[in-house]
Assembly symmetry: C2
Homo-oligomer: 247 residues x 2
């Protein structure tokens, strides 16, 4: 199982039976780019986790939450709005350090400066209005705390039906809702320019520390030649940012 593609939005696509079955089969087959490319790049960006208090937005079945405590986090709060995902996460996790909250990320309230790390794996492209969420999570972070998030790359969300074909990008400047088909019709994602995403993080008071567009290594391409097109057009954008220490 990977820990990818889990919604934090106001839609409930992950509670659609047809979608959920297709999605879980894909995840369980490890058929995607996730294990070969996205996960290693994401994990490499994480700060030291010893005794860290972590919030994971769009936690899905909780796999990242379990990885985070395995790597030393003191506690992880996994947030996901999907009842099915929530049930799966509870079932798959036997660890007191991990708790789950069934909620939309936008509706979570936490004390100021109470969190060392906020993570989000491939979920923010489901959030309609990103700046309020960024501002909110920035308040949760203690000074020096980290925000590490992956999302579908803007060159893909720009024209998602075309983006399934490598090399075609369109409507990049037109930000907003995109209705796509992914196992079922009517999966809604939100396109934003890469500049809009980065400026949103900056405007929330965080400092950009790293931007990653992971691509398959030569080694992974030998094992999975089907990943070749991810070298032609980037699939995922990963950002790492920190809350500045007071001057």
């Amino acid at each position: 199982m990977g820990w990818h593609n889990v919604s934090v939005s106001m839609q409930n696509i992950y509670d659609d039976e047809v979608f959920f079955a297709g999605y879980q089969a894909m995840r369980d087959a490890r058929s995607g780019i996730n294990e070969a490319v996205k996960q290693p790049a994401f994990l490499a960006l994480l700060p030291p986790l010893d005794d860290a208090v972590v919030v994971d937005l769009g936690c899905g079945d909780g796999q990242l939450c379990r990885v985070l405590v395995d790597k030393g986090a003191k506690s992880v709060l996994g947030v996901d709005h999907s009842a099915r995902m929530f049930a799966l996460a509870e079932k798959r996790t036997v660890d007191d350090r991990v708790r789950y909250l069934k909620s939309f990320a936008e509706q979570v309230t936490l004390p100021a400066s109470s969190v060392d790390l906020v993570t989000s794996s491939l979920a923010l492209h489901y959030v309609a209005d990103l700046p309020p969420l960024l501002e909110r999570l920035a308040t949760w972070l203690r000074p020096g705390g980290w925000f590490v998030a992956s999302m579908e790359h803007p060159v893909v969300t720009a024209a998602p039906e075309l983006g399934s074909h490598p090399c075609i990008v369109d409507n990049y400047a037109s930000e907003g809702e995109r209705d796509t088909t992914w196992y079922v019709e009517g999966v809604v994602k939100y396109h934003r320019r890469i500049s809009t995403i980065i400026n949103g993080v900056i405007d929330a008071g965080l400092a950009i520390r790293r931007v990653i567009e992971p691509t398959p290594t030569t080694e992974s391409l030998v094992q999975r030649p089907n990943l070749d097109h991810y070298g032609r057009l980037p699939a995922v954008l990963i950002l790492a940012a920190t809350k500045p220490l007071p001057r």
Copy 2:
């Protein structure tokens, strides 16, 4: 005249007669996206210029240098390696506050903390090895000083022959030299991922303050419907960064 597309690289394409004639005709006809989209976005990112000491890398005929002193800069050093551009810049500028240096940007040496602002307009995609130049210009900046640079957008430099057709991007992950035809054959540009460019600025010790992917306004599209495709695929990337104040 615009102040766009001026080389700072080790190639001398701007001293090729055929290229220079075509380029100048294009610039003089104001036929491009430059005046409608790129220049306003670039100028909007500049910090207050009163009494500022500025270095402009890839200054071309000096138009940006003249704009900068008109906006209050105390002095502007324009750097360009092209003898033709250098001659044109000298001819077109009658202002003691502007000086020109015929040099590759990579070869300029200036005192540490002596500069308030480094600008570069559509030139960095000609630089083969960007990190050393970024590190060098970061030393020139005083703490609190700004770096504002535009360059061809990575979705265009990735596959430049395809990129002239909107909507097609390819070979994004493969960074390095691209031979293109632009008035003449053999114009060499260098493709880097947007993440590589941003991380290079961060690694030089600067803080990213703004990332802009300018697109035509509705108003400009009424006047110039031919600019429509710049809303489909971004043409230019503009970055603004600052040198942090000491803690």
